[in-house]
């Protein structure tokens, strides 16, 4: 099938993983997301597997980031945003009345498109989450552990008191990953984490994601198809469709194992997109 996409390497046999048995962390059924009256995403069904990397790809405006931001209820912060349908998290309704969005966000971490370290020291950036969550234990150890896991410790151990904004863009993004890890989340959501980074920094983050996927469930939104192919176990392809009233809605087109999406997609639109004929 390589003739479809000669330039894309799929996360290959050197890292074989048994992804047949999908152990669901999130089960999304018929999810629609509204901003006011506008239905930005319509009818998404998706399952996110435990300790897998799930990539969400698609052209701009297809709703992939919107769906991602439902997983930690980040959309709650946007006035007028509302989700319909259901997202079950380990069998518990994420949008149930009893659910505290703050607890959701503590358990489901997020890394953003633009590195957003706080204008504080490197140490305080990592310690912030544990502090606001009242975590016990020696803070120094916690900070070291999180930075080590994010493959940043060796680069910053001698300058923990320095302002985090003195780091390079790639280091800042790894700091943000370390900051997310420090509160010991169960899932890490990444919203185009490499789009503001150069190729070398991107490679580092991708390697880091492979490391982290042993312990964490990762969902990544990316514009970069090669990245999705390189790092993910499963891929969801979204696109924007125009309905009868000429309103655009984000739709999930196809969701499958990454190797199938990139070598033998079942939907024509997926194939067009990944072969560069569209988008």
């Amino acid at each position: 099938m390589t003739e479809i996409m000669p330039n894309i390497t799929v996360r290959g046999p050197e890292a074989p993983r048994n992804i047949e048995a999908l152990d669901p962390v999130f089960t999304v059924s018929n999810l629609s997301v509204f901003y006011g009256d506008y239905e930005a995403v319509r009818g998404v069904d998706l399952t996110i597997g435990n300790r897998e990397i799930t990539a969400m790809i698609g052209p701009s405006g297809c709703g992939k980031s919107t769906v991602l931001r439902c997983f930690n209820r980040m959309n709650d912060l946007i006035p007028g945003a509302r989700a319909a349908g259901s997202i079950m998290y380990h069998g518990e309704d994420l949008y149930g009345d009893h659910v505290d969005p703050i607890e959701v966000r503590r358990r489901i971490g997020m890394v953003f498109q633009k590195p957003n370290p706080f204008p504080k020291s490197i140490y305080d950036n990592i310690a912030y989450g544990p502090r606001v969550n009242g975590m016990k234990g020696k803070m120094d150890d916690l900070v070291e552990q999180a930075l080590t896991q994010a493959a940043l410790w060796d680069e910053v151990k001698d300058k923990l008191k320095q302002n985090a904004l003195s780091l390079s863009g790639g280091q800042q993004q790894r700091l943000c990953i370390a900051r997310a890890i420090a509160v010991r989340p169960e899932v890490i959501l990444m919203d185009e984490p490499c789009s503001a980074l150069d190729p070398i920094a991107t490679t580092k983050i991708e390697d880091l994601m492979q490391e982290l996927s042993r312990d964490y469930t990762i969902v990544i939104v990316t514009h970069n198809m090669q990245q999705a192919a390189r790092v993910s176990d499963r891929t969801a392809f979204f696109t924007a469709e125009v309905d009868e009233q000429s309103v655009r809605h984000g739709r999930l087109v196809e969701f499958d194992e990454t190797s199938r999406i990139f070598t033998n997609p079942s939907d024509k639109r997926t194939e067009d997109y990944i072969t560069g004929r569209f988008g």
């Binding site: 703050i102 607890e103 953003f112 957003n116 706080f118 204008p119």
Partner: protein, 313 residues
């Protein structure tokens, strides 16, 4: 080399040289520069007009008399020139004002920037700024005829005088709330939303995000707002003249009538002092001191901002 420049660009046959002079640009630049110079020239003029009478004042009254005594009565006979009573009154009223304005102003700013829905903010911010437009003499009479009697009823044991530093300070504080609130809100609103999202994504509540991320990130703007408010409070004249009175007795007790430096200047300036007399020159000496005090405060705070501000981007 210079001689070899072609008169016309190759290809089109038309020169790239300016085809006609642009006088407008030069005129605009000169006008803009003139506008900038007006405020600088005014400042220089103020300093100059303060310096000369001040020097003459200190030729007649020694610095020891000015700073070494606590009796202030340059307008009565025998004249005394110990400046401390009006300095203390100024600092005390400023302190009371800041104690009122910083917590209330910051709380209002956090509410408007972080909690209020857009519609609420759109309504509240202009209303808040109206408070800044109230003539200060109105605040003065409000303090004199409403606040002081009210405080007397509620706290009879304070034995408030009819004019007192407490009422004046409280009203000066209320007067400067809009400065603190409005400028702090501006700088909090300028904090990138990514920082808030980063904090929320770690499971921080709105309150923690506001206090531990937004306020520190906006710190330099908040301090600048407070500095401006302090300067306004220290120089405020009408409220303290109406509600604080003109008596200058050396005391730290804010229930007493106390004249501030600005109140003294207003009082002396309103009288019929003959130009060139020593009491007349006293006005300028006090003015210079007030100028120096606010200048030092501004400078000190600017240093603080440089040192502690959290830079983003």
């Amino acid at each position: 080399m210079a001689a070899q420049h072609p008169a016309t660009a190759p290809g089109t046959g038309r020169s790239l040289a300016r085809s006609r002079p642009r006088y407008g640009e030069a005129i605009i630049k000169a006008l803009l520069l003139a506008a900038a110079l007006v405020s600088i020239a005014t400042t220089v003029g103020i300093i100059y007009s303060l310096v000369e009478p001040t020097i003459e004042f200190f030729q007649a009254v020694s610095i020891g008399q000015f700073f070494g005594s606590t009796n202030w009565g340059p307008l009565i006979k025998p004249a005394t020139f110990g400046v401390w009573p009006i300095v203390v009154a100024t600092l005390e009223i400023t302190l009371i004002a800041i104690i009122v304005a910083v917590p209330l102003g910051l709380a209002a700013a956090i509410y408007l920037s972080e909690y209020a829905k857009p519609g609420v903010r759109k309504f509240f911010k202009p209303v808040l700024e109206i408070l800044a437009g109230v003539p200060t003499v109105v605040f003065g009479y409000f303090a004199l005829s409403f606040l002081t009697p009210l405080l007397k009823d509620i706290f009879p044991f304070l034995n408030l005088e009819a004019k007192n530093a407490l009422s004046a300070g409280l009203l000066v504080g209320i007067m400067i709330i809009p400065i603190v609130a409005s400028l702090s809100e501006d700088s909090m609103a300028a904090v990138p939303n990514g920082l808030r999202e980063g904090s929320f994504a770690l499971g921080a509540s709105k309150m923690l995000t506001s206090i531990r991320v937004v306020v520190p990130a906006a710190f330099s703007g908040i301090v600048a707002a407070i500095i401006l408010a302090v300067s306004r409070a220290a120089g405020e004249t009408m409220i303290v003249a109406v509600a604080g009175g003109f008596k200058s007795i050396f005391t730290f007790d804010p229930t007493n009538e106390m004249a501030t430096m600005a109140a003294f200047i207003a009082q002396a300036g309103a009288g019929d002092l003959s130009t060139g007399s020593i009491p007349y020159k006293t006005i300028f000496a006090v003015g210079s001191l007030l100028f120096i005090i606010t200048f030092v405060m501004n400078w000190f705070s600017a240093r603080m901002v440089q040192k502690y501000r959290e830079v983003y981007d």
